[in-house]
Symmetry: C2
Amino acid sequence: MTNPTLLILPGDGIGPEVMAEVRRIIDWFGAKRGLAFDVTEDLVGGAAYDVHGVPLSDETMAKAQEVDAVLLGAVGGPQYDTLDFSLKPERGLLRLRKEMDLFANLRPAQCFDALADFSSLKPEVVAGLDIMIVRELTSGVYFGEPRGIFEEGNERVGINTQRYTESEIDRVARAAFELAKKRAGKVCSMEKANVMESGILWREVVQKVHDESYPEVELSHMYADAGGMQLCRWPKQFDVIVTDNLFGDLLSDVAAMLTGSLGMLPSASLGAPMANGRPKALYEPVHGSAPDIAGQGKANPCACILSFAMALRYSFDQGDEATRLEKAVETVLADGVRTADLMQAEGGAPASTRQMGDAVLAAL
Amino acid sequence: MTNPTLLILPGDGIGPEVMAEVRRIIDWFGAKRGLAFDVTEDLVGGAAYDVHGVPLSDETMAKAQEVDAVLLGAVGGPQYDTLDFSLKPERGLLRLRKEMDLFANLRPAQCFDALADFSSLKPEVVAGLDIMIVRELTSGVYFGEPRGIFEEGNERVGINTQRYTESEIDRVARAAFELAKKRAGKVCSMEKANVMESGILWREVVQKVHDESYPEVELSHMYADAGGMQLCRWPKQFDVIVTDNLFGDLLSDVAAMLTGSLGMLPSASLGAPMANGRPKALYEPVHGSAPDIAGQGKANPCACILSFAMALRYSFDQGDEATRLEKAVETVLADGVRTADLMQAEGGAPASTRQMGDAVLAAL
Ligand SMILES: CC(C)[C@H](C(=O)O)[C@@H](O)C(=O)O
Ligand SMILES: CC(C)[C@H](C(=O)O)[C@@H](O)C(=O)O
């Protein structure tokens, strides 16, 4: 049997440093657990622009379509701010999402016990928090046409189009209900059906999928503004949240920050099953490229390491091995190992990216 | 000289109860401070639908255009959930905003010292917080065309259009810079220029208004998702935030919830100056109609009372009288008077809506 294939796209900023630690973890699973992967590495974002003049080359795109899973670090940096919209690092990531048709973006917002104090929220509000946000990732205002900046009379107008078809809503709703069945059995769907017709259709389709296929899951609906409020007030009321691309972008970032564990949070972006039964998949940390600390060995590799754990679970059906890796990270945190982002001002010397990787390997 | 005119629209749910207290405050200013208003009352939202079959009658709309300021309670309730989109209570409010052209929605997110403990955030994160969110209120995805639910092939598609012209961005940016000049002198503008062309135009115009007319104000730009994160992490980094209609809806609700003072927060929606020099204006609490506690005399009237204070300041140039009213509310809080929403579970008997009104009158 051939090994499963991984495409690694470290990207920009702290991407390469955190990904270097993930590669050591991958090697460990090959050597110690008999889980060998065929790994190729390539460029995305600003790193790809610097070499190819585009944030994702057609060759890399083709590779991403062929592998079993893609692991991505982060994209973006101030040196690319003045590039044309179509050449910005983000377009590389958006192209991957769109062409791989990764419609379900899973973003766990989880509070690690050892880090509860680190949140800006009171410990009792976040301790033990474990939410899964399912964000639609291939449609909505991110991709709708018409879009652009146009002349109109004697001024310009900026236009984007929010656009959802029934089938786009249907498939991401199913992904959310499936996840809820394996968790606490609750889904809350968020939109602005009180002001947007696309939200009305969203609510209707989610309700229909529920009634027809998942009546055993508890479904509620909330306006996205109220949802943002409730996330800040009492996040533990939620289990799975399903929402559109733009609301999901905002709400998942708010939820991530609430946990105090931003440098810890992974994500999975899943599409339809391929011929081998595995879903098209891309895994990446929730944090960005953090250009301010890039290249200094300070970044926390845990979010990227935990993204690989999600890959083990969702792409390779290795739930036990994923749990093993997640537990190793928790052990390391419980032992007090901290990169700079996980320390209060008064803490001692922080662990480096490499030291955090060492600690996780030791805990494995 | 004739008295200035006020149109009072109590609306639905707790709207009428909280507005009853505001009317007593208005009377007090007439009797004790020589500030008499000519007050008319009318219907909006579900209350208007019940009588007229529409959430805002043309007669009420015409009145709103003529008065010096409108005070609104709240709109909405579950009994109207099944109404057609065009008849929902919210449409009454949206029609007022649009036809009065109230483009600048001022939403202070302020943490009252006496209530800092009540936030889900740590007291040190929110104590003394005082942010002003300026939300564009008459354009963007709330009003852009095309919109609706359409047949496409063999399924339906929900469409809304995000749309901003240069002049729409220009005028709300100016409102934000003007406010910043009277505050800490900082504006942070939020959009998603990394994925939306309307955000690119937004950023460009805000920067231009700054460079040409307000170089002394400190301007920064943030992606709206990062903005949501930063609001949760360390909200005191902000002074004035300017953003579009939809991002403003979400971000101002998050900011309001952070303060722990949701039942305390007022808002002002301002348009262009009328012939008498006063801006078109509508004042309303940030909280909603709270149908679950409506009619029980439990609601906190402070947000609505403080909305009248904003009217004194922004419509009637009575900054000192506004401060007098705001100080009275702070005194009452410091004295420990609490409606149910301001109490932890273990507190004693809460003050009723009327008792809170009494206390504010006494403090005046
Ligand atoms: C980098 C950017 C294009 C992206 C988005 O807006 O989706 C990011 O914020 C995210 O949430 O993954
Ligand atoms: C009631 C609703 C239409 C409204 C909005 O979405 O603007 C509300 O959420 C607000 O923020 O004033």
